[in-house]
């Protein structure tokens, strides 16, 4: 399952550790010469969103389980997995927000995380149950994108 070349970071479910997850992933991603700085920045935001959600899902349970961040570079992509033992959720059933042009939109200070993740990474997959959630983020190498853009 997890690649033997993966780096794994395990953090307590505390807000102060999200920066560490960003740091590790961005160091791994920067080492990949095929990912531009812009795309490393995009990945950092996606990781931050996923870790924030993971930590909030633990808060809700008041558990002291930990959040796992795995990261590895493959031939043609970089992959990050964020796993929590929180409440879980139904990703197909998230609330819809009014369009941004609607003044009502201002009622919603939240719910921007998952849309940001979807927009920023090349591939995202959520696997969630009562046991917790795993989010898989994939950034394909820029070369690959310049080519035929086929998924691996």
């Amino acid at each position: 399952m997890i690649d033997e070349r993966a780096v794994q970071l395990e953090i307590p479910a505390g807000a102060e550790f999200v920066a560490l997850a960003r740091l590790v992933v961005s160091a791994m991603a920067s080492a990949e010469t095929q990912l531009s700085d812009d795309r490393v920045d995009d990945l950092k935001i996606a990781v931050s969103e996923a870790c924030t959600n993971a930590i909030e899902a633990h808060d809700a349970l008041e558990t002291d389980e930990r959040v796992l961040v795995q990261c590895w570079a493959d031939d043609d992509h970089l992959e990050v997995r964020i796993e929590d033992r929180g409440t879980g959720f139904d990703v197909s059933n998230l609330p819809e927000h009014p369009p941004v042009t609607d003044p009502e939109r201002l009622k919603f200070e939240r719910g921007l995380g998952i849309p940001l993740i979807r927009a920023l990474v090349d591939e995202v997959e959520f696997a969630s149950s009562g046991e917790g959630t795993a989010v898989r983020l994939v950034m394909r190498h820029d070369e690959e994108l310049d080519g035929n853009g086929l998924r691996p």
């Binding site: 999200v18 950092k44 941004v100 919603f108 849309p115």
Partner: protein, 113 residues
């Protein structure tokens, strides 16, 4: 992790200059400072994001909350941001349509008065 929050006055506007990383850990301090300013009667606020190294949806939430609060006081919240990596998150979330974003504090003050 450091979050810098410097307040100054400029042509009747209160400028809140934010430095560092705005995420789930630092956002509460940012939110409190903003609420504090509003409750001190500062209803025309410019938030200068030029010193921000990182901002995710938690930071966007603070800004949306601030705008809502100020509008309810007939106030105004203007943003200063030229960094493309920060502007990008406003664009993706459609918030460029909600906020007035300027290239500098001078531009913001000028456009508003």
């Amino acid at each position: 992790m450091d979050l810098g929050l410097d307040v100054s006055e400029r042509n009747g506007y209160t400028v809140l200059a934010v430095r560092g990383e705005v995420d789930v850990y630092t956002a509460p301090r940012f939110r409190e400072r903003l609420i504090e300013l509003v409750s001190e009667g500062k209803h025309r606020i410019i938030i200068d994001l030029e010193g921000v190294d990182f901002l995710d949806s938690t930071g966007l939430g603070v800004l949306v909350g601030g705008l809502k609060r100020l509008r309810s006081h007939d106030g105004d919240l203007l943003l200063v941001c030229t960094q493309s990596r920060i502007l990008k998150v406003f664009e993706i979330t459609g918030l460029t349509k909600v906020f007035s974003i300027y290239d500098s504090v001078d531009d913001a003050v000028g456009a508003a008065s």
